[in-house]
């Protein structure tokens, strides 16, 4: 575990050196512009617009980082031949993967936390004060982070057995499908044949349900997210990441690196 921690810390350092956190400047500019503009162009929905825009930006920026860096975690090490040096040391392949995953999640956590701070500052500017109900925004940010961790795990899995381009396509595809899992489950049973209905139901549980983590509308309207949902979503992300990372470790341990 200590060895995975070292890999994680180095992955984080590498991301910082690669200027990944520069996106924070973009986010800050967006928030400043939105805070100033929203008062001019809307009436009564300033907070809704700021929260929706801020959370969407956190989600999109996080998605881009998690997909592109997640896929590059393994392939970049292979391209630069640094993987061989690393694996020559007493580091198991599974530990390497776990470290890479943890490193990127740490990067995303720092990035997301900084953006959340920016969002709260923008809200403070617009509302002139923060209320207790505004903590729901932090819950929404936490859910985004859980979602991003799951995406990193998926990107890592795909990058273990295919090319970076295909891994990106697979991850984006699975993410898009995962957004419509609820729709799949809500398809009216009456309009489908029983086998099709059973198939869609099973599929809806196998696919990662990214809609679980979407509480943006609730956050925008200051509605409370139940504690049980926070716990369940956390467990969901942990269990799903465990499955995907175990599969990734199984694939990567068998991969011929010559």
């Amino acid at each position: 575990m200590r060895r995975a921690g070292v890999v994680a810390l180095n992955t984080f350092r590498e991301a910082v050196r690669d200027r990944v956190l520069y996106n924070l400047v973009f986010f800050a500019l967006l928030m400043i512009a939105a805070s100033v503009a929203v008062g001019q162009i809307s009436i009564g929905i300033e907070q809704t617009v700021i929260v929706s825009l801020g959370l969407s930006a956190i989600s999109v920026i996080g998605l881009l980082i998690s997909i592109f860096l997640g896929v590059a975690l393994v392939s970049k090490e292979m391209d630069k031949r640094t993987l061989y040096t690393l694996l020559a040391k007493p580091v198991r392949r599974s530990e390497f993967l776990l470290g890479k995953f943890a490193g990127l999640v740490l990067t995303l956590a720092v990035n997301t936390a900084a953006m959340a701070m920016g969002l709260l500052l923008a809200m403070l500017y617009v509302k002139h004060s923060l209320e207790r109900s505004d903590t729901v925004v932090l819950v929404a940010v936490y859910f985004i982070l859980l979602k991003l961790a799951l995406i990193v795990a998926l990107a890592l899995l795909f990058s273990c057995f295919t090319t970076p381009l295909l891994a990106i396509l697979f991850t984006v595809g699975l993410y898009s499908a995962g957004l419509y899992v609820q729709e799949l489950r809500n398809l009216p049973i009456e309009v489908m044949s029983p086998p099709m209905s059973a198939f869609t139901k099973w599929l809806s549980y196998l696919l990662p349900n990214f809609e679980n983590f979407n509480v943006m509308a609730m956050a925008a309207h200051g509605r409370v997210v139940p504690g049980a949902l926070i716990l369940q979503n956390t467990l969901y992300a942990v269990v799903y990441c465990t499955i995907v990372l175990t599969a990734a470790a199984a694939v990567f341990s068998r991969r011929n690196l010559k």
Binding site: I189, A228, V239, I243, A250
Partner: protein
Amino acid sequence: MKSEKSIAWLLLLVVPLGFAGIWRLQHGIDAQRASISEERDEVLLRSPKLVKAMSLEYAPLLADIYWTRVVQYYGNKHLRGQANLDLLWPLLDITTALDPNLVIAYRFGAMFLSPAAPGGAGRPDLAVQLIQRGIQANPEYWRLYEDLGFVYYFDLKDYQKASAAFLEGSKKPNALVWMKIMAAKVAAEGESFETSLFLWKDIYDTSADPSVKKNALMHLQLLTVKEDCKQLDALADEYAKRHGKRPSRMSDLVQAGLVRGIPRDPLGFPYVFGEGGKAELNLDSPLLEKQLMFDRFKNVVP
């Protein structure tokens, strides 16, 4: 090699256990989401023109997707017995703007929009608007006139406009002869059991969709029940004239020779006389639940 094997074993253990856990967690999350009863925004963009502009050359494909969303939205609300169908019109508006020739969207859309809850959104005015838009885009399609007449007849009770719609439709190519007969009959008689029965029977016979057929069958059965009860009440009045008191059981009518056997509803359950001496459905009849549901939503079945 040893590490590889242990990971493979771990995978065999983690995948089934993990997905069993996911299954259970997802049920919990669904329950939580349902308890906070968030209204999911089904229509992000409400401007049909904007959606059409954004759809580039894929408008017909997008129309199909929107139409699927209409069916899902209506189906989900219907299954949960929810009467609020506020987003139905915006969805239909966008669907038909994207593909004005998607005739099914006008026909079924009007069927979803027009009847009062629980059968629909209770907006016959919007149903008329939708069908008229359909007629404008598909002027030769006579079935749309039938649907227009249907809405005027059943939901708006405007028999002159219903008759005019049937008459206009009868002039279109391939229109069936009964359209002209219906136009004359509705103009002369207004609402009648025979006309209502004929219209619902036509829906039942011509629709290929099982849920539409089921709905039409239910209306046919309730219509028959209403007519049966009306006739049984008339017979009960006749019985009262002869015997000086109203019948308390259906067998009284049989013994008086007014009916041959115990009258039964379309599902085979015998009718009974209620506390007010009026004929009504047996408590065991599944149709009673349907009838009560419609009465609850104040939708008088014609």
